[in-house]
C-alpha cells in the first residue's frame, strides 16, 4: 500500500489537464478568505500573483508543455524567504514593507516546478521563538483550537497547512521551528540534513543551524517537496556538493530489517500522553518488521544550553545589518550611531533584543571561551553521541514536542520555559542531522501529538521510509476545532 499523496495527485491532475490550476488556486484562496481571520496564518496573501501563476501553468499545459512536478499546487512560504517584489518582513517592524530585489533559490525552484505561491506566512520575529507569539503583527492561532499556539517559529506555515489553506508550505528550522509547529498543528514537517537545501535567500537567524524544509499534510507530499527544493546551489557555500537524497522513490520501501532506537532522554521530559503516542509509533515500526530498542544519548541534555549560546551568538551578528542605512525601517536622529540605535530599538521586538544581547555577550571579549567556544565543543560531543547511537540503530524515535499546543500567553512571561519547547528538536540542528515530525493522533486533550524520527546525515531516504510506516499506523486527528470539546 502506498503512502497518501494528495499534492502529488493534484499536480498530476493539473499536468494532465484534468483540473485547471486556476480552479485549484481559486478554491484555496476562498478557504483562506473564509478562514484566515480566525487563524492569522498569513502576513500577506498574494492572490493576484497566485492567479497569474496558475493561469500560466494552465497555458503551458494547453500548449502541450509540462509545468513540473508541483504543477498548480498552492504553497505558502514563511515570511523569511525572499520573494522578489513581494514584501518579506520576517514578521518584524524593521523589515515591514521591504521588497527584496531577488528570489530565494528555493523559490526559484518552486516556480520552475510549477507551484503556485499563495502567500507569506506569519512567524516568530526573525524565527526566534516557539509559538509565533513573537510576531510583530500578532500571533497565529492553532486551527485545532484557536486559543492555543500553533508552535513556532514557522507557526503560520504549519497552521496554513493544517487549516487547508494550502496543501504545502515551506518553513525554516534552526532549533525545531518546522518540526515543533508541525507537531502542534498535526501536520508533517521535516528538517533536512544541513547543506542539502540552499539557504540563499533565507533571511539568516543562526547560519550554522538554519535549514529550509517542507510542511505538508502527508509524508509523501513532504517527500516530493524536499526532492524539488533540495540539491547543490553554487550561491550557498555551505551547500553540499553531492547529490541530494531522492526520497519519493524509496518512500514505500518499508522498514523490514531496520533498527529503530527510542531515545530515552527525550521521553523523560515529555507529557505522559505524548510518551504513549511515541511508544505506539514504535510498536507500529516493530509490527512492520523493524527491530525496536531503547537507546540513551545522554549528551542531548546539553543541547538546549549549547543552542542558546551558539544561535544567539550567530544571530547577533546576522542581525547587525538592520541599521536603518540601506533598507527597512529608519528612525531618524542627529548622527548615525543614534540613528542605528533608535531604529533597532523601535524595530526589534523583545525576544529579538534579548537574543541579540545574549549573543553579543557570549561572543564578547573575556566570555567567548567560556560560553560560545564551550558550546562548539558540546556540539562535537553531540555529534559523537549520535554517532554512537547510530552504530546500533538506523533511526531514532521520540517526541517532537514535550507537550501538545499550549495556550496563547501561557509562556510569554518566561523565556526559559518557552525555550524548553525545543529540547527534542535542538540536538538534530546542532548535529546537522535530518529529522521529521509525523502527526500521530490526538493527546488526552484532543490536540495533535507529533512523533519525531531522527537519522544521521544524509539518511533522508531511510527517514522517510520510517515516517511512511509511522504515518500509516497513526490514529486519525480530531476534526479542527473539536479539541476544545474534548477538554471540556
Amino acid at each position: 500500500m502506498s503512502a497518501p499523496r494528495p499534492s502529488i495527485e493534484l499536480a498530476q491532475a493539473v499536468r494532465s489537464g484534468a483540473r485547471a490550476a486556476v480552479d485549484v488556486v481559486g478554491e484555496h484562496l476562498a478557504a483562506i478568505e473564509a478562514g484566515d481571520g480566525a487563524v492569522h496564518a498569513f502576513n500577506l496573501v498574494t492572490a493576484e500573483q497566485a492567479r497569474d501563476q496558475a493561469a500560466a501553468v494552465d497555458r503551458m499545459v494547453a500548449e502541450g508543455g509540462d509545468p513540473g512536478p508541483l504543477a498548480g499546487v498552492p504553497i505558502a512560504l514563511k515570511d523569511n524567504l525572499c520573494t522578489r517584489g513581494v514584501p518579506t518582513t520576517c514578521s518584524s517592524r524593521i523589515l515591514e514593507g521591504w521588497l527584496p530585489p531577488y528570489d530565494a533559490t528555493v523559490v526559484t525552484r518552486l516556480r520552475r516546478a510549477g507551484a503556485v505561491v499563495v502567500g507569506k506566512t506569519n512567524m516568530d520575529e526573525f524565527a526566534m521563538g516557539s509559538s509565533t507569539e513573537g510576531s510583530a503583527f500578532g500571533p497565529t492561532h492553532n486551527p485545532h483550537d484557536t486559543s492555543r499556539v500553533p508552535g513556532g517559529s514557522s507557526g503560520g506555515s504549519a497552521a496554513a497547512v493544517a487549516a487547508g489553506f494550502a496543501p504545502l508550505a515551506l518553513g525554516s528550522d534552526t532549533g525545531g521551528s518546522i518540526r515543533q509547529p508541525a507537531a502542534l498543528c498535526g501536520v508533517v514537517g521535516m528538517k533536512p540534513t544541513y547543506g542539502t537545501v540552499s539557504r540563499y535567500g533565507l533571511v539568516a537567524f543562526a547560519s550554522s543551524l538554519d535549514q529550509i524544509g517542507p510542511l505538508a499534510t502527508t509524508v509523501a507530499d513532504a517527500a516530493l517537496l524536499f526532492d524539488v527544493i533540495g540539491g547543490h546551489d553554487p550561491a550557498d557555500s555551505t551547500s553540499l556538493n553531492r547529490p541530494s537524497p531522492r526520497v519519493l522513490s524509496v518512500l514505500d520501501d518499508g522498514v523490514a530489517g531496520l533498527a529503530v532506537g527510542v531515545l530515552t532522554e527525550f521521553l523523560e521530559g515529555a507529557a505522559p500522553d505524548v510518551v504513549a503516542r511515541v511508544r505506539e509509533a514504535a510498536e507500529a515500526c516493530a509490527a512492520a518488521g523493524a527491530t525496536v530498542q531503547e537507546v540513551s544519548v545522554p549528551v542531548v541534555h546539553l543541547g538546549l544550553s549549547a543552542y542558546y549560546l551558539i544561535s544567539p551568538g550567530e544571530a547577533s551578528s546576522n542581525l547587525a545589518r538592520y541599521d536603518g542605512v540601506r533598507y527597512g525601517l529608519r528612525v531618524d536622529a542627529e548622527d548615525t550611531v543614534a540613528m542605528n540605535t533608535a531604529t533597532r530599538s523601535a524595530g526589534f521586538g523583545a525576544e529579538v533584543k534579548r537574543r541579540i544581547m545574549l549573543g553579543t555577550y557570549v561572543l564578547s571579549a573575556g566570555y567567548m571561551d567560556a560560553y560560545y567556544n564551550q558550546a562548539l565543543r558540546v556540539r562535537t560531543k553531540t555529534i559523537e553521541g549520535f554517532d554512537a547511537a547510530y552504530a546500533c540503530c538506523d533511526v531514532l524515535l521520540g517526541p517532537t514536542s514535550p507537550t501538545t499546543a499550549f495556550p496563547l500567553g501561557s509562556k510569554t512571561g518566561d523565556p526559559l520555559a518557552m525555550y524548553q519547547s525545543d529540547v527534542c528538536t535542538i540536538p538534530s540542528n546542532l548535529a546537522g542531522h535530518p529529522a521529521i515530525s509525523i502527526p500521530f493522533g490526538p493527546g488526552d486533550d484532543g490536540l495533535p501529538v507529533g512523533v519525531q524520527v531522527l537519522g544521521p546525515a544524509l539518511s533522508e531516504g531511510t527517514l522517510f521510509r520510517v515516517a511512511a510506516v509511522v504515518e500509516a499506523a497513526a490514529p486519525p486527528l480530531l476534526p479542527l476545532g473539536s479539541a476544545g470539546e474534548v477538554r471540556s
Binding site: A320, K353, R354, I356, G366, N373, L376, L416, H433
Partner: protein, 102 residues
C-alpha cells in the same frame, strides 16, 4: 573549569550599546534578570571540563568552495535605491558620522 561571574546590569548596558540597542530602565531590569537566568542555565555547559575536545563550527565539514572570477549581472540601481530610507545623488544618505572607521 570555572565559569564567569553572574551577569550584572552594567554589563547589560554595555552589551546593549555594543549592539546599538537602547533599553528603557524597565527593560534593563527585566532583561538583566532574564538573561542571567538563561546564562545560569547555560552554566551547565560553561562549567564542563571539555579540555581537548575540538570545537565544531560546521557540522558537515567541507573545504575549498570557490567560484570563478566572472562578472555577473548586478542589481538595477533604481530597484535598490527605491528600498533605501534616504537617497541623495544615487547614494545612500546617512546622518552625520561621528567617528572614523576602525
Amino acid at each position: 573549569m570555572a565559569g564567569p561571574a553572574r551577569l550584572t546590569r552594567d554589563e547589560v548596558v554595555h552589551v546593549a550599546a555594543l549592539a546599538r540597542l537602547e533599553l528603557t530602565e524597565e527593560e534593563l531590569d527585566l532583561f538583566t534578570v532574564q538573561l542571567a537566568k538563561v546564562l545560569d542555565h547555560a552554566a551547565d555547559v560553561s562549567f564542563l571540563d571539555l579540555a581537548g575536545v575540538p570545537m565544531t563550527s560546521h557540522a558537515l565539514a567541507m573545504t575549498n568552495v570557490l567560484r570563478p572570477d566572472e562578472v555577473q549581472p548586478c542589481l538595477d540601481r533604481d530597484e535598490v535605491l527605491a528600498q533605501a530610507p534616504s537617497v541623495e545623488d544615487h547614494r545612500f544618505r546617512v546622518p552625520r558620522i561621528l567617528g572614523e572607521a576602525p
